[in-house]
Amino acid sequence: MTVLTWKIGGPAGFGIMSAGPMFAKALKRSGYSVQGYPEYPSIIRGGYNCYHITFSNESVFSVYKRCDILVALDKVVFDNEDITENMTVIADFDSIKLSEDIVCKKIHIPIKNILKENDFPDIVKNSIALGASAKLLGVDENIVFKLFEESFPAKVVNMNIEAAKKGMQYCENVIQNNFKPDDKVKDYLVMTGNEAIATGAIKAGVGFYSTYPMTPASSILHYLAGVAEKYGIIVKHTEDEIAGIIMAIGASYAGVRAMTGTSGGGLSLMTEGVGLAAMIETPLVIALSQRPGPATGMPTWTEQSDLKFVMNISQDEFVRIVLTPGDLKELFVMTFEAFNLADKYQVPVFVLTDKFLSESHFCVDNLEYDGLEIDRGYIFEGDESKPMDFFPRYKEFKNGVAMRVNPGTPGGLFKAPGNEHDDFGFVATDSKTRIKNQERRFRKENYIKDELPLPKLYGNENAEITFVCWGSTKLPLMEALKFTEKFNFIHFSAVNPINWEDVKNIFKGKKLVAIETNFTGQLASIIAEKTGIVIEDKFLKYDGRPFFVEEILDFVERGR
C-alpha cells in the first residue's frame, strides 16, 4: 500500500473541523506527506461532518473514496459511511445499537465511560480519538501534545492531553505499513488553498481587501482580517458584495493594491463592478472560490462551474485575465502575479479556486521563492510645474496600456468614468473615440498572452488517454498518475488570454478527454470556441464532490 487514508466523522458542532486538520499536521510533523479533505453541510449543529486524510511517505495530492481507518465519534457516522470489512473503525461500540452487525476491524474505545470516569466534557471526545489514532499509526505522542498546546487555551491543554492518553491506552496495535517517514517533510507547510491565496496576496503587498463573507471564500477574509493590523492592510467586511467590489475599486483607483474575493453568488452581485473596473482600467484582483449552484445551491460543496460565467461576466466585452491554479504553489504564485498583471495591464484578474482547493489541506515544501518581484506598471510621477493640469490618463502609452495616476499627483488630474470617454476621461461617444478605445483596450491581450502559462502536460507523453483539466482537478489526476501509465493530462493553470495556436500544438495527436467537475464541460466549451477543436469525450462529475482517485482509475481502466 502506498497511501493510507484516515477519516474522522461526527455531527456538526463536535469539533471535527479542528481535530481533522490537527491530525493532518501531526502526520506531517511525523514525516508524512498529507492531504486533508473536509465535508460538512451548511448547518451549525446537527448535520454530518467528516474530515478525510490521505497520507504517505511519498507526496500525496488528493482524496480517495477509500477509507482505511475510520474514527466514528458518534453513531451518525454509521448512517453516513459505507463500512467495509477491511476498514479499521475506532468507535465506542458499546453505545452503538446493533454494533454486532457491523463487519470491520473494530477498535473499541469506551469513550462514554472515559468521559464519565474522568469528568471530561463532551468536547474532548476528539482528543481521545486523536490519541487512539496516533497510537494506531505510530505517531509520537509528543507531537500530538505539542499541537494541543499550540491550539487550545492553556487551561484545557492538560485535560486534552489526559484524554488523548486514555485513547492511546485502548489502541496498542500499530497499523502495518512500510512507510519510512521523511525528515524533510517534517519542515513542510500544511495549508489550505485559501491560505495560499491570502499569503500570496500579503507577499504581493496587498493594501485593501473588501468583501462580504461567503463560503467557501470566507476564510480568505478571515485570514487577512486576522493579520490586517500586523501587515498594515485594511480589510473590510462590507454591507454586501456590491460594496465589497466597489470599495476595492475605489482603493485601487487611489493607488493601493486591492482585492476582493467571493463565491459565485457574491460574484453575481459584483457583476456590474467588474465592468466598471475594466472601463476605468483600474487594477483589480478577484479571488473566486466556486461552489455548486445555481443560486444558493450547495454552499459547502465543490464544483468547477463558474469558468464560463467569469469569461463572459458583465455587459459588453473587455479583457479579463482568468487564472486557474491547481495546487498550493500555483495558488500562491499566481495570486502574487495576479497583482502584477492587474497593475501592468489595468484589467480585472480572476484567481479561480473551488471549495475542494480552498478548504482542503495540502502539503507543500515551501512558498518563499527568489524571483518574486513587484511590478506596478506605468505610473505617472507628476509634474509640479503645472499641478492643476489634466493628464491624458487614457492615452496609449505602450502595448495598449496607458499610464495610471494616483489622485494627489500634481498635473495628473483626470476623470475615471464608467462611461466611454476621451483621453482625459471626459464622456465621449463619437464613433472614432469609441473605436480607438475598444481597439486599444483589447490590444493588451496580445501582450498578456505572452506572460500567461500555457497548459502543461503531466505524465508519460505517449499515454493512451490525455485528460484535459483546469484548476483543482490537477490534484486527483496527479494522485492517479501514480498508479497507471495509461493516461497523461494537460492542465490549464490559466485560461484567458492565452495563445490558442500553441494550445493546438500541445493537443496534436492526443486522444483528448475533458475532465471537469461541472455538468457541461466548460473548459471543453472554451477550447471549442477558441480553437474549433471539439472534445467529444468528457468525464464530468457534478455532485458537489471532487473526483476521487479511484473514479479516475476506474475510468481509465474501462478505457473511457
Binding site: A204, F208, A251, A254, G255, R257, P417, G425
Partner: protein
Amino acid sequence: MKAMEFNSGKIPVWCPGCGNFAIWNAIKGALADLELNGKDVVNVSGIGCSGKMLNHLRTYGFHTLHGRTLPVATGVKLSNHKLTVIVNGGDGDGYGMGAGHFIHAIRRNLDITYLVHDNHIYGLTTGQASPTTDKGLKSKSTPSGVIDEPLNPLAVALNAGAAFVARGYSGEVEHLKELIKEGINFKGFAYIDILQPCVTFGKKYSYEYYDERIYKLDESYDCTSFENALKKVWEKDKIALGIIYKIQKDEYTSLHPQIKEKTLLETTGKIRDISEELQSFK
C-alpha cells in the same frame, strides 16, 4: 486657487435654470475658500444629471456606477486619507439604488462630504419618480400617480446615526457654499441634502415653492441636540436650511491603526517578508 480656476473648461449641459449650476458654483467657491488644491480633491459622482458635476470640476474625479458613489468614496478615502473626498449624487442614485450604502456609510462616519442633489425626480432618464417624489405625482413610470410614501432621507440619516446632517438649497448659493465648507471641515461623514429644482421635470419643487418655505437656522438653534434635529427634519410647511445636526464622533480613519501615520498608499504595495507567517503552517 480662485473659484473660477476650479472650472474644468467643459461647458455644462444642464438645462438653463437647473439647480445644478448653483451647486457647481457653491462647490467651487467652497474649495477656493478652503484654499484647497484641485489635485488633492477627489470628486466622486453618481449617474444622473447630478453626476455630471464631475465633468465640470478641475479636480480628480470618479464617475461611478449608478448608486455606487459611497463605496467608491470609502475605498478612496481609506487608501489615501490625505485627499479631500467630495461625493455628488442624485436622489434616485443615493436614496433608491444606493439606500443600503447610505445607511452603512453613515455607520462608518468616514471623513467625506456627501452632497445629494435632491430634485425629487429622476432627471437624466426623463422624469421618473424618485424615492423623494410625492405621492400622487404622475411620471412616466407612475402614470396614475406615485403610491409609495416619499422618503424623509434626513430623518433616516439621523436615526441611522449620522453625525452631520444639513440641508442646503440651490437658490441660496452663498449659504450652500458655507455648508459645504462646514461639511468638508467636519471630521466625519458630512451629509448635505440639497434642494435642487429640476426646471424640466420637477413640477412642484420649483424655486418659487422653496422660496416661500425656506428659512435659515441661526445661532439660536442648537444643532447638537438630537431632539431639535428630529423636530427640524419632520417639520411640515416650513423648510429649515443649515446644519440640522452636528456632533463629534469617532472618525473612521482614526480607528485604523494601519493608517495612523502614513497613508495606505504609502505603506503598502511593496513586497513583504512572510516567513513568520509561513512558519505557522509547519
